[in-house]
Subunit: 520 residues, 2 copies
């Protein structure tokens, strides 16, 4: 396999994603992570676009990067001035970044409609801009915007644009699928068609509008591209950019490209989650390679096979990318899932223990009622410990009452909950108001319990979902409540099922609290 | 382009996805949607795997499908008995589905490790199983499990398995990338290598473990495959199955396959969201083609270009897949949406009516709060009629109170609701007990209203879903309640948002009742 370099644009194109806005500190943090994880080029932003970008380039100079080079992004010069006079090109030079990546038009439509100059003039704009940056001592990459769309309408002109960049001295000609509409077989055909007409190395910059950005990037490498531009987790405008968390492991493990070390690859899952956290976005559990569910097995057939030989249902060993195997409990699973789970929970069990049979039985009954332990694993662990005689309740609920009252059409609903609990033989009876019945019950219960179990004060509910199970019975149907709780370090799921929404919620809430008390 | 058929397995392989568990009613609903949207084959499940699957096949017989054929899934026969004696093969025949799709081993490792039979015996298992189903009058597809992995280790044997299926009479040989680890260039190479050795049509069944399932599916079609197996939104185990919401538009718009009509393609975004709602999962906004952000433009350069000529930054017109362009300043597009909706509701409006502007304003506010009118269209119609002065409340709620009380650890929760309502100037104050707070409120309210509006007695709630909107606020977060109500003929969705679960439910309940009174 030829040499391939990863070019990360999370800090520039990734930030175009809806809901993503990095501070300078965020960007510094991400740049350090990228550097440690083996990325070769880190695009930091477009100097001149906002003061935040310049602040970032100033700050990053104080950070010692072991592996990566910083890249400043920009456009070719304005047609109305020379490259030497161009404000933005000079901002790139002043940024202090050793590498420049500038985009230019390669689709005649854009030259006419956006730049409003002649096709000839655009070629000169490209060549002179790159030549100026080269003369200023930078390594220069040329992003040929809309290259594939341009090539499909006017192949001669699209190639001329690349040749202009080549004449200017660009180190890599990056073919951009800016609108993300190109098919993988088009990528291979077009690259094969243009290669003989160029002597400069090619790169690829793909967008995910057809869910093909990863495929298009790998295809380009297969046909000789030496640089892949993308973002962590595929962040980016619309459907996002090419996802480096999928590209890096496929390049290394499937195509034999020596782009990151084994240790760096093992840090990939952690890198992905870290960047989600910094962006304040929820990870996508089904994400390839790094997602929480990427190696989660549900089907009973799969589970028993995988316990014998993981290769049967896993395309790679999850540890290679720092992920882990997961077996979920569901109505398709049997004893082998239970044993696997027990091991995971750190519960030693004898596969011949007669209590196990009654646990399988109880699990199936509860599943028939509507429990789905795959989302409420903490409830399942509590059930298992109870059934095996390994766990006693830390408190007992004697009763509760919740009153929701609305005293006029435009009045707010007032909620009050009272709770009666026995903790170590002492009975506590207390009350609280809340935003809703769940909130009020939660607050009243915690009033009592946090005195005895101070570790509860760090926990809070992060998700709450309700689902009707047998809808043909209308409002008297069973409902399933799923609660997700966190203490800032660990997150756990619990659930409750009942015809009464409040009771189902209450059960899930109690399990969430019991679990925290159990784990300390 | 040759003829290609879509084979949907949302109800079988899709349900293997973590957190997904469809009821029989859910499956019927999805099957109807798939049929209306132009899918050719709908795999309903594995008869014998659970009583739910058999209940589904029984029920679906009463549904008239316009376009699609039902498919029963299963495995090749057990090695220890003949095909005629095989319990599961006979369950397929008894299911009443006109099509069978059975999987068999094509990787020698699995024959040795899972089946523990000789390679020769497995070939006979494949051929005889298919021959029996064919003899029973079914159309039969063969899912060659782990085909690509098997081919890479032992190509001769993998091909022999396909030839055995061919000898048995299989209509399509489906190449399965069961572990999802295959690269697109391997798919094309392997298909080209096996084609000369087979006379039966090929299909593709891809998994997304390398984020390549869509690319692998399209590549297979490019090399002649006539059937694509996948799921709506790519639901499925681990990283999911090939996403039909990406495959269908690329096949039709980019590759010229005539798989669905223009109108069916326009219903794709709505199909995607509907299936997310049924599964009670949050849609992924960046999803290709159908995601909320798929055509959302953030960059200032892009926005101004796109307003002049959408082709500059959009690979297709979003309307082709029933999606819409989104730019930051969208009052204009907001208005055209409203006009479109009004037409659908049969409300005549003057586009210059000043009340429309305040309706756009109110819609935007509510959407910011978490309303999603796509799923609660009846609530939206009521809002529109109210804002345009076309609708008066039939009753006014003066207040309510709900008490949930649990008087001991093992006691049931007792629920009582009182309701005060003004109907035509007379005030009614009544009470009812219920299984839960929603049920009790509903019953108390109906006690009063059914006297005045007897048409309400035929209506009942068929679905109830709750989602937390801003989970960082824990139990005091806003929740969104979605209710689905039916009168046996028509089904409508309403919603309510509030920090209080009871209040949000109450709002959705009132809308559901108002809507029925309005429609008579």
């Amino acid at each position: 396999m030829h040499d391939v370099k990863i070019f990360d644009t999370t800090l520039r194109d990734g930030q175009q994603g809806k809901g993503i806005s990095f501070t300078v500190e965020d960007k510094i943090k991400i740049a350090k992570l990228l550097d440690a994880n083996g990325v070769s080029y880190i695009e930091g932003g477009w100097p001149g676009a906002s003061p935040k970008v310049e602040a970032f380039f100033k700050e990053i100079k104080n950070v010692e990067l072991k592996n990566a080079k910083m890249v400043a992004f920009g456009s070719t010069r304005r047609a109305s001035n020379s490259a030497e006079e161009d404000v933005f090109l000079n901002k790139i030079v002043q940024s202090g970044a050793p590498v420049a990546c500038i985009f230019g038009k390669s689709w005649d439509l854009h030259v006419h409609e956006a730049l409003k100059i002649s096709l000839e003039e655009n070629l000169d704009v490209i060549e002179s801009s790159i030549a100026y940056l080269k003369k200023s001592g930078l390594e220069v990459f040329f992003d040929a915007e809309h290259f594939f769309d341009g090539y499909k309408r006017n192949p001669e002109y699209a190639i001329k644009c690349l040749q202009a960049a080549e004449a200017g001295g660009a180190e890599v000609l990056v073919l951009c699928d800016t609108n993300g509409g190109t098919m993988p077989f088009e990528v291979s055909e077009i690259i094969e068609a243009i290669k003989p007409q160029l002597s400069t190395a090619l790169g690829i910059h793909a967008h995910n509008d057809c869910e093909l950005a990863v495929a298009n990037s790998l295809t380009a490498v297969k046909h000789g591209a030496v640089q892949v531009q993308g973002t962590i987790n595929g962040f980016g405008e619309r459907c996002g950019n090419a996802n480096l968390c999928s590209i890096i492991p496929s390049l290394k493990l499937k195509m034999g490209a020596d782009i990151v070390s084994d240790e760096q690859l093992q840090a990939l899952s952690s890198l992905s989650h870290h960047v989600y956290e910094i962006a304040n976005l929820s990870p996508i559990d089904s994400q390839a390679y790094v997602g929480k569910n990427a190696f989660a097995h549900k089907g009973g057939v799969h589970v028993s096979a995988i316990l014998k030989n993981p290769e049967t249902y896993e395309h790679i060993r999850p540890e290679l990318v720092g992920n882990k195997q997961e077996v979920t409990i569901s109505d398709q699973s049997g004893l082998s899932n239970l044993i696997y789970k027990a091991e995971k929970f750190g519960i030693e069990i004898d596969p011949k223990d007669p209590k196990l049979k009654s646990l399988v039985q109880r699990t199936k009954e509860l599943e028939k009622m509507g429990f789905t332990f795959e989302e409420g694993e903490a409830s399942f662990e509590l059930l298992m410990r109870r059934k095996l005689g390994l766990f006693d309740r830390s408190f007992e609920l004697l009763g509760f009452r919740v009153i929701d009252e609305k005293r006029g059409h435009d009045e707010e609903v007032i909620v009050e909950a009272t709770v009666k609990v026995d903790v170590n033989g002492t009975i506590y009876h207390t009350a609280a108001e809340g935003e809703g019945p769940v909130d009020a019950l939660n607050k009243a219960l915690r009033k009592v319990l946090e005195v005895h179990f101070p570790q509860l004060s760090s926990t809070f509910l992060t998700d709450y979902k309700v689902r009707v199970l047998n809808s043909e019975k209308g409002t008297s149907s069973n409902v399933r409540v799923l609660i997700e709780t966190t203490d800032g370090k660990k997150t756990w799921g619990t659930l409750g099922v009942s015809a009464n929404l409040i009771e189902a919620t209450w059960k899930a809430l109690i399990d969430a609290i019991e679990y925290k008390i159990l784990k300390g």
